[in-house]
């Protein structure tokens, strides 16, 4: 019998584990602060996110998780504003544009050094652009997508990049490109150390060297990436933090648990349903990223009843967007009426949204000859995205909305890769999807998502309109902003009338962090520079 008790005690001991060793000491914000030098320690910030980076060579990747890190290792010639996409100085302290919009001259900041100690100068800028121009689409996807191709390609917008002296770089374009400066500020066009590129070759993505506020230290895949303070950063008095650690914790709830337990200091991908819980916690605070996205229901314009504009307008009238926002976005979103969010230059606020009006919808259906409704498929996204936290539930509400006007929607879902492929092939009647802007430019929404050039690529609704196409192409090479915004206003009217989508929401993705974090401003692009952040 004694022995029984012994084994019971054993079992108990084991299940409680070594809990007796006292509390976890991960809860202090300054742990491991062996800061060099006599200054006060700026502390370590641990940023928890949903996935790991693919590579830390920003020119070669397309995923947000990579840019979140590279944005802190590298600088670009120009940068965006703290919470908007207006361009401002960075590695270039000044720039001039010629009358014809075809020559851009950048004056570079002097005395800047790469993390490997080599000098940043005009030659380094030229080296980086030459590297991309001579590349391929597989290697430098964003270069092609933003500058229209590579050396020798018809669509390539950049004719030459030359160093006129040590700190002046001249870009000559083949034709004006309106969003040129906004493109230059994008994360993929960060300036890397030529020396390190030569030395590392293929391994540069695992040993990145830039001029940014933090220096790369180590990366254990799927686990953590460690960056340390760049003591010689060109921005006087910055960065504040000693180090930044990016940790990958895939599950949103588990990541929130880690935040509340003090294992991480800041997290993105906070579920809208968890926002209140974080706000009620005195040790934590919430942040909301300004919206640069749109979540929509695409109506494939070459399928069945959806070919008819009136039917698409009817469906637009059937949806109660505010109810969606209250239920699934914790109120942290605004109803969408255009394919792009209000933060983007050229947004047309004159557009009258399709009001939620069941009667109106029924009338339009009747007019189109579908008085008794019809049947269609409604595809629900299988993965959560900032613009669509729960595709399945949103689909169920839409299904109910449509049922009220006699339209029977059958909800279907596929695994993500399959979903995208089938939608791209035009196999869906209607499908939920969304988009987060790359560079804060209207072209990056309207042309990319709705122009006939992009059918079979990002225009999944197969929507074609020649008039719209002409306007969008003209806008691409109109350097005058006002002129351009007029064109985009017109484009949004056409799209509104043709209703290839039901634009649903522009969401403000939520982040949670310790209440002692200061100086953190989430950026609309989704990747944040942590230069000014401090933590107690």
């Amino acid at each position: 019998m004694k022995k029984t008790i012994y084994s019971l005690v054993f079992v108990l001991l084991l299940s409680i584990g070594l809990a007796g060793c006292g509390g976890s000491n991960e809860t202090n914000g300054n742990g491991g602060g062996d800061s060099e030098g006599g200054e006060a320690s700026g502390g370590t910030l641990i940023f928890g996110r949903g996935g790991d980076s693919v590579s830390l060579d920003p020119a070669s990747v397309t995923d947000g998780e990579s840019f979140k890190v590279t944005k802190n290792i590298f600088d670009t010639l120009l940068d965006y504003g703290d919470d908007n996409t207006d361009v401002q100085e960075a590695l270039a302290k000044d720039w001039e544009v010629s009358e014809d919009g075809k020559t851009y001259t950048f004056t570079l900041r002097e005395g800047v050094k790469f993390h490997d100690g080599t000098d940043f100068n005009a030659d380094a800028v030229v080296y980086n652009f030459e590297r991309w121009m001579n590349g391929t689409e597989e290697a430098f996807y964003y270069y092609k997508s933003m500058f229209g191709g590579f050396k020798g390609d018809e669509g390539h917008v950049i004719e030459s990049v030359t160093a006129t002296d040590d700190y002046t770089v001249e870009f000559k374009l083949k034709r004006p490109q309106a969003p040129f400066l906004k493109n230059i500020a994008m994360s993929p066009f960060a300036i890397a150390s030529p020396d390190a590129l030569e030395k590392q070759g293929d391994k540069f993505g695992e040993n990145p060297v830039g001029t940014g506020p933090f220096v790369f230290d180590q990366w254990s895949r799927n686990d953590k990436i460690v960056l340390n303070k760049n003591e010689d950063y060109w921005m006087e008095g910055y960065p504040k933090l000693d180090s930044v650690i990016f940790r990958a914790i895939p599950d949103n709830s588990a990541r929130l648990n880690a935040l509340m337990a003090g294992e991480i200091d800041l997290m993105d991908g906070l579920n809208p349903s968890d926002v209140q819980q974080v706000e009620d916690n005195p040790d934590l605070q919430t942040f909301f990223r300004p919206s640069m996205n749109v979540g929509y229901l695409g109506l494939t314009t070459n399928r069945g009843p959806l070919k008819d504009k009136l039917v698409r307008q009817a469906l637009n009238h059937a949806v109660d967007k505010q109810a969606l926002i209250d239920s699934f976005y914790a109120g942290q979103a605004e109803p969408a009426k255009n394919p792009m969010p209000p933060v983007i230059g050229g947004y047309n606020d004159e557009i009258e949204p399709y009001e939620y009006d069941v009667e109106k919808a029924k009338e339009l259906l009747k007019e189109a000859g579908y008085e008794d409704g019809f049947e269609m498929e409604l595809w629900a996204m299988p993965v959560p995205r900032p613009y669509m936290p729960d595709g399945q539930k949103v689909a169920e509400v839409l299904q109910k909305n449509f049922a009220e006007i006699g339209v029977k929607a059958e909800i279907k879902s596929y695994e993500w890769a399959t979903y995208l492929e089938k939608a791209r092939n035009g196999e869906a009647d209607s499908f939920l999807l969304g988009w987060t802007g790359d560079n804060g430019d209207a072209d990056n929404f309207l042309y990319v998502l709705l122009d006939q050039d992009n059918i079979g690529s990002n225009n999944y609704t197969y929507y074609e309109n020649q008039e719209l196409h002409d306007i969008l192409i003209e806008a691409q090479s109109t350097p005058d902003e006002e002129e351009r915004n007029k064109l985009y206003a017109e484009a949004q009217e056409i799209i509104h009338e043709d209703a290839p989508w039901i634009p649903l929401v522009h969401s403000k993705p939520a982040l949670g962090g310790k209440s002692s974090i200061e100086g953190f401003t989430p950026h609309p692009t989704g990747s944040d520079k942590l230069t000014k952040v401090t933590i107690e």
């Binding site: 029984t4 584990g17 799927n222 599950d251």
Partner: protein, 334 residues
């Protein structure tokens, strides 16, 4: 014995070969284009075409397969489509993380499972027996991700006893040498970190070990009951031998064969259960590595990852079979 082992090892070759074949063609049969997934939503038609070509995915399947097998024989597991890194070079840290976790899960499962099974059998139909068996039933049917989140809530948030995610305290990181952190910390004589690493292992270890623990407990119990009805145990008990001796000296060995079989199978299954556990606990193991690869249609990583897991699985089975003979001299392999 040796001849048997060699024969078994030789038999592995066609088994693994067949497995590579099945996996290779199965993953290619899933819809979803790797080039599309890699390039993301923004990709253009041409980009996808040229990437497909560059990755060699435009070749006929049988040629791709022959290439893959040829490379395997030179020890080359291929290159990740997504990260362009060499799989042979990067797979060990993932594998080490999972092995460490599985081992801890299994130690917990075997220790608690076997002992609970023995006590249940000895005090058949007592309150302990009923409670243990109800718990075992609950344990088998509990979704791992729910259990994991509950553990985090209870032990990290409410009680603050144990860390909820990761392998180490990242504010005071372990230097990876073998990537088995328990060993790495000992090599470096860092006892403080060794304790940290153990603390990080407990919650995911319990989450991963719960299902095998329940199965082992039930198996041990039924197996023990059978043995305890046998003559020699009755004799021993009649002689007044204490329970401890009866169980651990006389019965357990005889009851252990079926339990061992279950342990061997569960050990292999752990690698599957690890996907959920690793996701909840932010554990950088091979389960998540393969799972991510499936989502990204990273064919080479899926193929090679599953191959490695399968090799481990068949080796565990072989070891279990050989252990039978060690435990029960009546079993002979010739």
């Amino acid at each position: 014995m040796l001849a048997y082992t060699v024969r078994r090892l030789l038999m592995l070759i066609p088994v693994l070969f067949g497995m590579t074949l099945i996996v290779f063609f199965m993953i290619r049969a899933i819809p979803g284009d790797p080039a599309q997934v890699i390039l993301g939503q923004q990709a253009t038609e041409e980009a996808i075409k040229s990437l497909t070509k560059q990755l060699g995915l435009d070749q006929p399947w049988y040629l791709q397969y022959v290439d893959y097998i040829k490379n395997l024989f030179t020890g080359d597991l291929g290159t990740s489509l997504r990260t362009s890194s060499d799989i042979s070079g990067e797979i060990w840290p993932y594998l080490a993380a999972t092995l460490e976790l599985s081992l801890v899960a299994m130690v917990i499962a075997i220790f608690i499972g076997v002992n609970a099974g023995i006590i249940s059998a000895w005090f058949q139909n007592s309150w302990f027996d009923y409670t243990a068996m109800v718990l075992a039933l609950v344990g088998v049917s509990m979704p791992v991700f729910w259990l994991g989140l509950m553990e985090q809530w209870a032990f990290s948030l409410e009680l603050g006893w144990l860390p909820s995610t990761g392998r180490e305290n990242v504010r005071n990181p372990v230097e990876a040498i073998t990537h088995l952190y328990l060993i790495d910390t000992l090599i470096q004589g860092r006892m403080d970190q060794f304790v940290e690493v153990i603390k990080h292992l407990i919650l995911p270890g319990i989450a991963l070990g719960t299902i095998p623990m329940a199965i082992i407990a039930r198996m041990t119990r039924s197996s023990m009951l059978e043995v305890m009805r046998s003559d020699f145990v009755r004799t021993a008990r009649a002689k007044g031998t204490g329970m401890f001796w009866v169980v651990y000296k006389h019965s357990l060995k005889n009851a252990f064969i079926p339990v061992l079989t279950v342990i061997g199978l569960q050990m292999g299954l752990l690698l599957g259960g690890a996907i959920l556990t690793e996701t909840i606990f932010g554990w950088p193991g091979i389960g998540r590595y393969i799972y991510d690869a499936i989502n990204f249609r990273d064919y080479p990583v899926i193929q090679s990852g599953i191959l490695i897991v399968a090799i481990i699985f068949v080796f565990i089975n072989l070891i279990v079979d050989l252990l039978y003979a060690a435990i029960d001299p009546r079993i002979k392999y010739n």
